[in-house]
């Protein structure tokens, strides 16, 4: 994903509703309580949740209002000199008077009025500079990113020069030579010195968007290049500007005062906070408030902008709202007295996991039960919204900060993983439970060699001498059938092919001989032939070492001949689980049956059409009170909409959750 901060309302909606499936409205689909939905969405509600940010925003708006209404609210003219009343202190000090509430400056001008008008000029300079700088920066960034090649190189080198050029020198060159320094000259200086900030980010964004499929599609449709740029690319590029601009706004207020310090600011008598501050510096001993008051004004303004910009950040990136990265173990005992270990390595009981987002609570996993024996392979299969990946992450306790396990237990060799301490969990991960993810190119850092990363994995369980580490890592690679392990150890991950990377990942995960290996779609990013090779490897390893495997996939055909047992998930719940042969040959749940026929593409009608399942996968944000498959089930009954089907045994160690099965059982023989 490119790094970008969406700001428009479309973006906000996009973040809030990532999988908003607009399907037919079925009964019971509305969330029940406000708490379930994660809170109301109106403007007032949003502001209510972000009190600090709202405070900052209101403060800033108040300052802007002051600036706008300056002629009305200021008690005197900022230029009116009254030499008889100069150097007066503020009214709360000795000698001060109410006519000049904040005192006067050396020329007898009212400080309050000058500060109020100063707000005008400071904010005007800052805002216009930001506007100017961002417009130039945007234009240059767009041109550089869109045209690429030599144009891009030239523009970016210009930007480098601009950055390297001392700002003060530039300011002197433009401002020192003029006799009368106006607002516009200062805007010019600040704007020109800041365009690079925007240009680089815009260019980066443009380079990414230009390569996207929708841009290619537009070209293929016959859109001219200007049209592709204006209609398709620009609407997705400009959003990077506002966050930078906002923070720049505060910064420029300070920079303007810096220029005044250097006598490069506004020519007197025009008041700006910076110039008042600069004047006040000379008389710090006599009239400290003259420097202090504009300083406070600057601090308050910049702070209010920062509070607002930072405080509302979680609207654009929901993960920031949940702060703490650290997992909190659930309360309760770690050892479950009711649990009989037997030869069950892993037992999951009634596990439910939810993600809290601003758009509502996402019910990823609901009431899942599973068990896994030593040396067994359990295949977990499901489509989007089934919760299979979340299940894997819940077991190994690596959920996102916004995820919470709301009920259930994960018992691993007698220990409840949801309740063990972070320290204990860290020692379990890697040592006793390993996990392999989908995209191997994202699983290893590209700046360290694979050898380094493998040694690091070894060292996590204690210090190891370099020779021993080298030997063990080499053996680990040989164990996954890599022919020249030395070359691979010296290589960086990006130098290896996808299949090779995933083999290294398997070696990495197996290096400390874990009892349980969780694999989340490990072959989805790989070619078919590489996939087959890797599955062979996994099969061999687990047979040799007796490792239990939890294999999560969307492709049920992969589990044929690979898994010992299969668990089918839909809409966060378990539909069916049982021995591999039984589930594949005699599926009992309508979803499993439909999935298998869809995969086999076996049911073809006379005119060559496939038997498709109508409708779309479920929306985890809108869970149904009844069976999640009800909207798409060919055998749906009234009861399916309202109550969850219980799991009933349908064979040896084979269970399915379907009302049809319960009903059939109740029929007289």
């Amino acid at each position: 994903m490119p790094l970008w901060i969406p700001v428009s309302s479309t973006d906000l909606a996009l973040i809030a509703n990532p999988i908003n499936v607009a399907g037919p409205d079925f009964p019971g689909s509305e969330p029940t309580t406000l708490a379930e939905r994660g809170g109301p969405h109106g403007i007032r509600a949003v502001l209510g949740r972000h009190k600090v940010a709202t405070f900052g925003l209101s403060l800033f708006l108040a300052i802007v209002l002051v600036a706008i209404l300056a002629p009305i609210i200021s008690p005197h003219s900022p230029y009116k000199q009254n030499l008889g009343d100069n150097f007066l202190p503020p009214m709360w000090s000795e000698g001060g008077s109410a006519t000049y509430p904040l005192g006067t400056d050396p020329l007898g001008r009212d400080l309050l009025s000058r500060l109020i008008y100063g707000a005008r000029y400071s904010l005007l300079i800052s805002a216009c500079s930001v506007l100017f700088g961002s417009l130039i920066g945007f234009a240059i960034g767009v041109v550089a990113g869109f045209w690429g090649g030599k144009v891009d190189t030239v523009l970016m080198r210009l930007g480098d020069i601009q950055l390297a050029f001392p700002f003060v020198l530039f300011a002197i060159a433009v401002l020192a030579v003029s006799i009368e320094r106006t607002v516009w000259q200062i805007i010019l200086v600040l704007g020109i010195s800041s365009w690079v900030l925007y240009a680089r980010v815009v260019r980066g964004r443009m380079l990414t968007e230009r390569e996207r499929d929708y841009a290619t599609a537009a070209r293929a449709l016959g859109a001219s290049r200007p049209r592709v740029l204006m209609r398709y690319l620009l609407p997705n590029v400009w959003q990077v500007i506002p966050p930078i601009a906002l923070l720049n706004l505060g910064f420029f207020v300070i920079v303007e005062s810096l220029l005044s310090f250097l006598s490069l600011g506004l020519s007197p008598p025009t008041p700006s906070w910076g110039s008042i501050l600069a004047d006040g510096r000379q008389f710090m001993m006599i009239t400290p408030w003259m420097a202090l008051l504009p300083g406070i004004a600057i601090i308050v303004t910049v702070l209010s902008i920062s509070l607002a910009a930072d405080g509302f950040n979680d609207l654009v990136d929901p993960k920031l709202a949940h702060g703490g990265y650290l997992r909190k173990p659930l309360p309760g005992t770690v050892h479950d007295p009711e649990h009989e270990t037997g030869d069950c390595l892993l037992t999951v009981r009634n596990l439910s996991t939810r993600f809290l987002t601003t758009g509502g609570a996402v019910h990823a996993v609901e009431g899942v039960d599973l068990h896994l024996r030593r040396g067994e392979v359990l295949g977990v299969v499901g489509e989007s919204g089934s919760g299979k990946s979340t299940l894997g992450l819940s077991i190994i306790q690596l959920l996102d900060p916004s995820g919470r396990i709301t009920s259930g237990r994960v018992l691993f060799e007698g220990l409840d993983l949801t309740r063990v301490s972070n320290r204990k969990m860290t020692s379990i991960r890697g040592r006793r439970i390993g996990m392999i993810f989908q995209d191997p190119s994202n699983s290893m850092t590209p700046v360290l060699t694979t050898g380094f990363q493998l040694r690091e994995a070894l060292r996590a369980s204690g210090p190891v001498s370099r020779e021993r580490a080298d030997r063990l890592t080499r053996e680990a690679l040989v164990a996954v059938h890599i022919a020249d392990p030395d070359r691979v150890l010296r290589a960086y991950p990006f130098e290896l092919s996808g299949g090779m990377q995933q083999r290294v990942m398997i070696a990495l995960a197996m290096i400390r001989n874990p009892d349980l290996l969780i694999l989340d779609e490990p072959t989805s990013a790989l070619d078919v032939t590489t996939q087959a090779q890797l599955l062979d490897e996994l099969d061999r390893i687990r047979r040799e070492r007796g490792t239990s495997v939890l294999f999560i996939t969307h492709d049920i055909a992969l589990l044929n001949g690979f898994a010992d047992r299969i668990l089918v998930m839909y809409g966060g719940e378990v539909c069916e689980d049982g021995p591999e042969r039984d589930v594949l040959r005699a599926p009992q749940h309508p979803y499993t049956q439909a999935l298998l026929s869809a995969v086999e593409r076996a049911s073809v009608t006379a005119d060559g059409r496939l038997a498709a399942i109508p409708g779309d996968p479920p929306d985890p944000k809108r869970p149904l009170p009844g069976c999640p498959f009800a909207p798409r089930c060919p055998y749906v009954m009234d009861i399916c909409w309202v109550s969850k089907p219980p799991r009933v045994p349908v064979g040896t160690h084979h269970r399915a959750a379907c009302h049809l099965l319960t009903t059939l059982k109740e029929l007289p023989a």
């Binding site: 537009a218 293929a220 449709l221 016959g222 890599i482 078919v528 001949g561 996968p617």
Partner: protein
């Protein structure tokens, strides 16, 4: 409609010796030493109304072929003839309307900040349709055609599911009334339960509008179901070409056998397959002679010396293998389990790659 659709009429699309080389290193003033042969002399014909399946793994040149057929990248060599006329990259004109593309990823193939009605309507505007009501009516027709509710034209792509987004993409492509659609892994990113819906839709549209498809996928099952003929690509070349049923039942190239046997299947046990040695080769440094010979289970000395041309071994069945007729024996051995996976040769690094 199965079986070949060759007729005495001339082909709708004729591709001869299409080649695309990319310089491996580019930049200001640096001369390129090595070249990526993304497409290496690809030739085939396409007849009106057929579905031409294209199968291959990563690095085989499928995506480059798509880009070259759309002339988004100028080919290094070779020609593309459409309805008997040679296409000039500088003067595309009407060709752009005739050939359209459906992408793999439903999440990036639609502009995220355009309303669906505009996404589907823009092609109409680009090609000269005027009048808001005319465009609106046409957009409504297109949305209905792909099974979507026209009332939803004010919504944004993120409000639709993956399968629905693909439908929007199809509607957009059909707006300009093309004759040829390139389906670049069009259903690969969709859930299995949704794939069937979209495949059925594609077949319906083909019948209704007389479309011709080039169906690209890595999933052989899907390709077999949809296509009349299939071409198998490896490292920039077509290594086998033939009618879908015959090719999958009795392949004439060892790579095809490997692909067929590696595909996960509920019917066939996992052990029954050819285990390919080593890694897929790098396109910058292809092997000498036949590019498949380092991994081929039936490689002979001549394979590393002479590049096998794509020749017609049987009517309509093309293969680029010196020993095409012996491949049938290999296929039989795989099916009767004589060729299994019990002996596991180690995975070798690709030839010609230097470390770091």
């Amino acid at each position: 409609m199965k079986g070949t659709l060759e007729s005495t009429a001339s082909p709708m699309l004729a591709v001869t010796n299409l080649t695309k080389h990319y310089p491996a290193q580019s930049g200001f003033g640096r001369s390129s030493k090595s070249v990526v042969r993304a497409l290496d002399g690809v030739s085939f014909n396409l007849w009106q109304g057929e579905t031409f399946g294209l199968v291959g793994e990563s690095g085989c040149g499928k995506s480059t072929l798509v880009k070259s057929l759309l002339f988004l990248d100028r080919p290094t060599a070779g020609e593309v003839w459409f309805r008997g006329a040679l296409i000039n990259p500088a003067k595309l004109g009407g060709y752009r309307r005739e050939v359209q593309i459906i992408f793999q990823d439903p999440y990036t193939s639609l502009p995220p900040r355009m309303r669906v009605g505009d996404i589907v309507g823009d092609p109409l505007r680009i090609h000269g349709t005027r009048g808001a009501s005319v465009i609106e009516a046409r957009v409504a027709d297109l949305l209905r055609d792909v099974g979507l509710n026209p009332a939803r034209k004010h919504e944004y792509p993120f409000q639709f599911s993956g399968g629905q987004r693909q439908r929007i993409g199809i509607a957009r492509a059909l707006a300009v009334q093309p004759s040829l659609l390139l389906l670049d892994e069009a259903v690969s990113a969709l859930d299995v339960s949704v794939q069937a819906q979209v495949l059925n839709l594609l077949k319906d549209l083909q019948e209704r509008h007389g479309l011709t498809y080039i169906f690209i996928s890595h999933d052989l099952n899907v390709v077999r179901h949809m296509s009349n003929r299939i071409a198998v690509m490896y490292l920039g070349k077509i290594v086998e070409l033939g009618p879908a049923d015959e090719l999958t039942a009795a392949p004439l190239h060892p790579y095809t056998v490997a692909l067929l046997s590696a595909a996960p299947s509920l019917q066939r046990a996992r052990g029954n397959r050819i285990r390919l040695e080593g890694e897929p080769p790098k396109p910058t440094d292809p092997p000498s002679g036949c590019s498949f010979h380092p991994r081929c289970p039936m490689a002979r000395p001549v394979c590393s010396v002479e590049t096998p041309p794509l020749i017609e071994w049987q009517p309509g069945r093309f293969s680029a293998c010196h020993f095409a007729l012996e491949v049938m024996e290999l296929s039989r051995r795989v099916q009767t389990r004589e060729y299994g996976i019990d002996t596991a040769p180690p995975v070798r690094a690709p030839r010609g790659e230097n470390g770091a």
